[in-house]
Symmetry: D2
Subunit: 346 residues, 4 copies
């Protein structure tokens, strides 16, 4: 089968690989129909993810059709259309019992990381019963690709952890795909204000279209002043970090109101400074989270009832044999204005 293989820092190729086989009774083999590329795949290609070794098939998102099932799989059968969670979860261990699937003792984020992933014609899904989700007849599968990772990430790590509430004031720092997914799902809770902050005017325009009530280009270094003006000098109830660098995390610390929550989504490569000398008495919370995808069933319902249209995040489409082109387009988002690209595997 064709598969996009990581070959070491800055190296990847579309290769022929043997079709995966069932290795445990709880496995399923899924024939991919659509997958996508994640910012994390670019991180891997920079060599930033040591758990991902050369030779690995990348990808942890997508939809497909069950090809075969191990003997212990009871929820699915060959032919079922399924959504693949980016997080594999056994459903049995301590963390899984708490719906903290990201810390499953035999799963978590392993797809396209420590085991072969979804940017291929077929993929082996461990713990299939608790890592796949049935796609109902007539659903728009392209939209559902956004439920593998990006929408639950924005919703769980940003919106839920950030305790977004009706009438509250939210700032989202970073208007990349993940910041925009956060923006879309934040509106489930009807906050009064959603301020989006970024360096790129194009992205800020998209944010406006996606529901931001105000946008701030922070290039001039005056984002703090702008937020304070917008909030009557009070700051925001929720500040969501969707970039992953020290500067944006520090910005969150300056704009958060007493009693507020800073919800970190960004993947950080460096330590940051925490200004406890200012914040120790501000009654704030700071949260971190790797997405658990525990809200996929909830998000399914919001899509089906048209509370959200995940396809707004999709800007480009490619066939699997053009996946290198898809990587180029996604990797040059500043030029291409790419948000999420769909890769059609069959």
């Amino acid at each position: 089968m064709k598969a996009l293989v990581y070959l070491g820092p800055s190296q990847k190729a579309l290769q022929d690989r043997p079709k995966p086989e069932i290795t445990a009774p709880s496995d399923a083999i899924v024939k991919m129909t659509k997958t996508t590329i994640c910012g994390t795949d670019l991180h891997i290609l920079k060599g930033d993810v040591p758990t991902c070794q050369p030779g690995r098939v990348l990808g942890h998102e997508g939809v497909g059709i069950v090809e075969s099932c191990g003997a212990a799989v009871t929820a699915f059968k060959p032919g079922d259309r399924v959504l693949i969670s980016c997080i594999s979860a056994c459903g049995k261990c301590g963390p899984c019992r708490q719906q903290m699937y990201s810390h499953c003792t035999t799963g978590g984020w392993i797809l396209g990381n420590s085991i072969d992933g979804t940017q291929a014609e077929f993929v082996r899904i461990p713990h299939a019963d608790t890592s796949l989700y049935p796609i109902p007849e007539g659903a728009d599968e392209e939209a559902l690709v956004m439920l593998s990772d990006i929408l639950p990430t924005g919703f769980e790590c940003g919106v839920l952890n950030g305790k977004v509430q009706p009438g509250s004031t939210v700032a989202i720092v970073g208007a990349g795909p993940i910041g925009l997914a956060t923006l879309l799902t934040a509106q489930f809770y009807s906050p009064a204000e959603i301020i989006v902050i970024d360096l790129d005017d194009n992205r800020l325009e998209v944010a406006k279209r996606f529901g931001a009530t105000a946008t701030i280009n922070s290039t001039n270094g005056k984002a703090l002043e702008a937020v304070m003006k917008l909030t009557g000098n009070r700051g925001v109830d929720t500040a969501i970090e969707a970039v992953g660098i020290p500067a944006t995390f520090e910005m969150c610390q300056t704009i958060i109101a007493p009693g507020g929550t800073i919800a970190n989504i960004g993947v950080h490569g460096k330590k940051v400074e925490l200004h406890l000398e200012l914040l120790w008495d501000h009654n704030i919370s700071i949260t971190t989270r790797l997405v658990d995808t525990a809200t996929i069933p909830l998000l399914f319902k919001t899509v089906r009832s048209h509370k959200i249209d995940p396809k707004r995040l999709i800007t480009h489409r490619f066939k699997l044999d053009k996946i290198l082109e898809a990587y180029d387009t996604f990797g040059n988002a500043a030029k291409t204005n790419a948000l999420k690209v769909i890769v059609e595997a069959s």
Copy 2:
């Protein structure tokens, strides 16, 4: 009247001061019976609290008898025995409505800080109806002095923010008075393990007597290893910082289990390093809080029903005219083994 007055860094004196008078209809004048000294008073004396200017009467804890009331005070009358909250709260503003009294727009921690405090024969209490609490007939007033600040601080900032639960594993970093108050109130929730970490063996012995299930002297720099051994390499569900320096806050980051909470109590004078490069995917929370004293009524009930004995924190007693001696004793806790000292004002 006699009053302990801050005269600038490292300077204080017991002086004669005019008796305070009612200046707003919601004020009450309270004749102090017992007060105490807080670690924060020592901070002021180091010159670390710029809001507190020379000439200020110190003290923000204590019990007394209502001497007179402004026209708008409805909950108290002269002669009532009262507990004074260290936090003055108007009960009307946005933060007060959320029980975040520490951020009351016309109150908060002002006693013995920006207005004269309780280490005196009399004190003016603003917003009396919502800043005083009635003491029932027959209650042990000495015990209740611990409810002005130290017990709600340990309970709200450490135990409640830290989400201590039955069966959970808790570490308290710092076994000074505030760490010990946290230790006492953590037991309201029956955690399975409470590990107390400090540099001082005497304090750790007190912690053992107060209910710690394990103690660690971190002088050897091996606290992390010791915690991991005690927790089967998992870390703790709740790590409570009760010191206020970078080293102890960093220790909390190393011992916290995925899904856990770091609850900061310490008053920090410097920024700290936050290792988001390690913690971004650990699903943790970090909280800060200035005590709101919203739990004083709850704590009252636990004292009355003997769920806690706050007097265990009291080690020394002085008359008000010996308050300089009381400061010496409290300030040299390493030698004197002082925890909380009672100062009898009348």
Copy 3:
């Protein structure tokens, strides 16, 4: 001044009454600009509310301008435009500290009940600082009249108590003004389905326009079957009772899914049957609540940011001297299709 006075069962009149005066330092006198009539006023007129004695000025909703303030009022001054909460709250007692203002020991629902109310040219508001809310420049005051009672009632007793969540399934039993207010505010949380059940097709059509995803006319006694068909035989996550009679409360018991919540809003005059022989193992919750109006500030923000348009509830407008006509119109809603009527006092 002119005032609508309750004179005993089925009797009311527009009378001349002395202008109210300040009787406590925390009182304010408010010159009414707009008020409205509540279903509860009709209950009083049926003689169903024994706390309301003949001679009482009715009304517990409205907006106005502060005319004068007692000495203890600090948040308002003459000339301020204010929203009046239907619940008077001292902000000091145990229930008020918990934001359970409805059970304030010296307040609660007293306006137009045990003290004179708002259907008059002037009204005395006790505990003014915590029972009035400032109206910002430029706000639409007519819309805000809906925030005195009906919107917080639907939101607090129905939506919040009912734990409406993104993607969840909600049934609202009763499409009168209060059911419709619940329908409007339920959408703050983006539930997937909101099924509205009533006997009146006109009201159900309004519900459709207001956002119901399905409506059921229960006249044929087959509402249960219809709900089960709509929910794949599972029942609803939240059932909100907005009528106040045994039949509708029993319907809620039949349609609630395991793990769900029945939130009662209705004012009940009779006991009801609770089918514990069926529900004891269904993991459900049932809640009751008199509105606390603790969410008025939140609702203010949702109105200002156009998350909700409360004016959709307003169907008729009258001058105060035509208030008897307003009562007729509101009392004959089946004919007049009245929802809320605005009465202009000045």
Copy 4:
């Protein structure tokens, strides 16, 4: 093997039955070491549980040793000592994902009900990975038998649903084994008062020994007056129904304070009256729940750390071949003072 078999209303026998066999890959066969008898077994014998048909081996509690495992079982292997949950849970379905194991679509309470149970030498456990719990070396297995059902029932349905809090006031109506299990686990949260109400002085004496702060014999019909006297006429924050008849559920309605919670544990055979005409504005919650046993891991930790001693519930011990005697003793608790009886199967 020997097994206690239900033969229809009022009929049971100790019979020879074939040893159970694995029928699904997720099954395990457990060799029983200790089991017990539950009040629900007596209900079955009265013919009150139609899902339990004649021929069924009774019992849903106990500890044992894994004899064999299906191919999909990964958490256990032959020889492992295990605790059996009374609730079988697949860990995969919608309710299981929410930890509402009691409503597992292919499990729930089936043991000793719709499939053969634990009062036998061997039992087949479906969904073994998520229905068994490992027993650590050196644990007291007799104590752990109480974790199969009775302790999680008291804790989940009574204490957690009832929101017992430090300093709060709790009433437990019914001092049978389940009421006493509730009493023991309520103390995890340090409520100020736990009032236990029953008709039997012996049981009330046990309640006193187990930590009740007050007991009321309600034979004289004056329990309400007694509770009101004990609570300063306020009522209780939490009322826990642990009997299952209309009279006790109605008592809970009379003693609950505004803002409080009635947590039902009792298995009800009849509908009850709910006094909404009194309670509609009391801001109360009523909860029902079939135990989910989701807290078994938590309870394990509280037992291991000596926060609770479950053996206090054990009054009698029998060998399996004397199980009919055990039933007699347990069934005549009024005479024998039996709480829980241990039946040793091997």
